[in-house]
């Protein structure tokens, strides 16, 4: 397009506005996490690391980060494994009831988190399994495995279907073809799914709030601070949370992009 009529600038300006809307809350958190005023507004006070010092002096915050770390790593391992299995099944097999099978795999993110939280709490409390770290893990794996499946399934869509058959023809068993063809080909997607599911779990607050009991994760303590008064500590904890999950999601995408960028045509 050689001519650029003014409406192009209008549209571009609109795109910029949308991005400002999307990223303003994130930036705000960073800015006010180093701002001295107790009540966050403009004009800004002076620079301070006070809020970070406060949260780092709080053993509850350390504990929450420890629990969140354990939860998200466990969830990422389990959800990525289950997601890989499901993606491979969808790629490789056709069977009666496959639509139902895929619904079972992909439906969890459509159920409101409050309802998942209530259902998990009701069940886990009944069998004395609530309030533990693994209570959070099992619930999060339900929510995260669809994301892992989607990422790995996209990668499998790019594999040359003859590659696996070639391995079989050369005498490899199913298992060997899996280990030497499928898994290596999916490695970037597996890494990406791992990072993404860790991020989803690390940020999940609703189900964790219901089932965690005294084992509070970071988002759960944020939720609890939010229920009280305005507290600038949230910006400090929030900034750390943002950095963590953004790093995970950006890495997850970069890994996938580097592998696919040359394989897909221009566009998406």
């Amino acid at each position: 397009m050689s001519m650029r009529p003014p409406r192009h600038f209008l549209l571009r300006g609109y795109v910029v506005l949308v991005f400002i809307f999307v990223f303003t809350p994130i930036l705000t958190s960073f800015i006010f996490s180093v701002n001295s005023d107790r009540f966050p507004t403009i004009p800004l006070g002076h620079f301070t690391t006070h809020w970070y010092e406060t949260i780092f002096a709080d053993p509850d915050v350390w504990d929450a980060f420890r629990i969140s770390g354990i939860v998200s790593i466990s969830v990422a391992i389990l959800a990525t494994f289950i997601g890989f299995c499901t993606a491979y099944t969808d790629y490789r097999y056709n069977f009666t009831g496959k639509a139902l099978y895929l619904s079972l795999a992909l439906l969890p993110p459509t159920i409101p988190l409050v309802i998942m939280g209530l259902a998990m709490l009701a069940l886990l409390a009944r069998i004395n399994m609530s309030g533990e770290i693994y209570s959070i893990v099992v619930s999060h794996v339900v929510l995260c495995s669809p994301f892992a499946m989607a990422v790995i399934r996209m990668r499998l869509a790019q594999i040359d279907p003859d590659l696996e058959s070639a391995a079989w023809n050369l005498g490899a068993s199913n298992w060997r073809a899996m280990g030497e063809v499928i898994v290596p080909f999916c490695r970037p997607a597996i890494a990406s799914a791992f990072l993404l599911t860790a991020a989803v779990s690390f940020d999940e607050f609703a189900v964790a709030w219901f089932v965690s009991g005294l084992n509070k994760t970071v988002p759960v303590i944020i939720l609890e601070i939010l229920q009280g008064n305005t507290d600038p500590q949230i910006n400090a904890i929030g900034s750390i949370v943002f950095i963590t999950s953004m790093t995970l999601v950006i890495l997850a995408q970069l890994i996938l992009m580097r592998k696919t960028i040359n394989q897909t045509a221009a566009g998406i």
């Binding site: 397009m1 549209l11 571009r12 609109y14 795109v15 991005f19 809307f21 999307v22 990223f23 303003t24 809350p25 994130i26 705000t28 958190s29 006010f32 009540f39 966050p40 507004t41 403009i42 299995c85 491979y88 099944t89 490789r92 097999y93 056709n94 099978y101 079972l104 795999a105 459509t110 159920i111 409101p112 409050v114 309802i115 998942m116 209530l118 259902a119 998990m120 709490l121 009701a122 009944r126 099992v138 794996v141 339900v142 499946m149 989803v200 988002p219 944020i222 939720l223 939010l226 949230i234 904890i237 929030g238 949370v241 999950s245 953004m246 950006i250 995408q253 221009a266 566009g267 998406i268």
Partner: protein, 282 residues
């Protein structure tokens, strides 16, 4: 790919983990939730049984129906507003920028979707507060103060924070796959620009637009953070009702009634929307 029909250990190894996990930790808890909606609460403890009293009680309460229609209305408005606000952005990214810009835009729209919604909501409080950034700015030019928080406007800002990036992404993917030759054909046949957008491009990108709308509806319908922290929590939506009933009242069976009604509503809407998305063209 032709596959052998018989069930193999190999096939089961890959297909079963999700079935086992989701049956135990997803389907079973939801069935259990349906069951306890018929249980009773005696002396603050749930007693198994089969009694429709919770359903009768909830359905006879005015506040339940108020919350139901309010939540439905909130989610409906969120769906329309988000879809409309997302479209020009998705359109511009699909048709008016280079593939490289499009790829990076997509990249940066996916990031916030996976980034603490809770903290982003809190950030909006800083802007929308009575003494917040927006009202401070308005005061400088002699306007306001406006109430931006603890009303539906605040809630809507929250819904947009939650859904807008996702909806732009879904619409963008659909729009980017629209066959350009059809768009050119419309132009060559003398179809005006706006008419091309609404009569050629929108129908061709129908699936992404409907998918975006459905996800907004699902997310807004079930969300409690925006109506609670930006909308002021009163009057409650269904999710807030569930939390209040569970956390304070120990009335889990009644909360379960609300939950079951919500799931049925969402399933109805999802099936209707998917039907609409894939009707005629696929």
């Amino acid at each position: 790919m032709k596959q052998r029909r018989q069930v193999t250990l190999y096939g089961l190894t890959w297909s079963m983990p999700i079935v086992v996990w989701q049956l135990i930790f997803f389907v079973f808890p939801l069935i259990f939730l349906l069951l306890i909606s018929f249980w009773l609460v005696k002396n603050y403890r749930m007693v198994p049984g089969f009694d429709t009293v919770n359903w009768v009680k909830m359905f006879s309460k005015g506040y339940f129906w108020d919350a139901y229609w309010r939540t439905l209305g909130y989610a409906g408005v969120a769906t329309i507003v988000t879809s409309i606000l997302a479209f020009p952005c998705a359109f511009a990214l699909a048709f008016k920028v280079s593939p490289k810009v499009r790829r990076w835009a997509l990249f940066f729209l996916i990031v916030p979707f996976f980034t603490s919604y809770l903290v982003r909501t809190y950030s909006w409080q800083i802007f929308l507060n009575d003494n917040g950034i927006f009202n401070t700015l308005f005061a400088l030019i002699g306007l306001g103060p406006f109430q931006l928080l603890n009303n539906f406007f605040g809630t809507l800002v929250g819904y947009l924070t939650l859904c807008l990036p996702l909806v732009v992404v879904l619409q963008l993917i659909s729009l980017a796959n629209v066959d350009r030759t059809l768009v050119e054909a419309a132009h060559n046949l003398g179809c005006g620009r706006l008419r091309t957008v609404f009569q050629v491009i929108v129908p061709l990108a129908k699936i992404g637009i409907i998918l975006g709308a459905v996800f907004t509806f699902i997310l807004a319908f079930g969300d409690f953070v925006s109506p609670y922290y930006l909308g002021g929590s009163k009057p409650p939506t269904l999710s807030i009702l569930i939390i209040d009933t569970t956390k304070s009242g120990q009335q889990w069976p009644r909360a379960a009634v609300v939950a079951v009604v919500m799931i049925l509503t969402l399933l109805t809407i999802m099936f209707a929307a998917v039907g609409a998305a894939y009707r005629k063209r696929t």
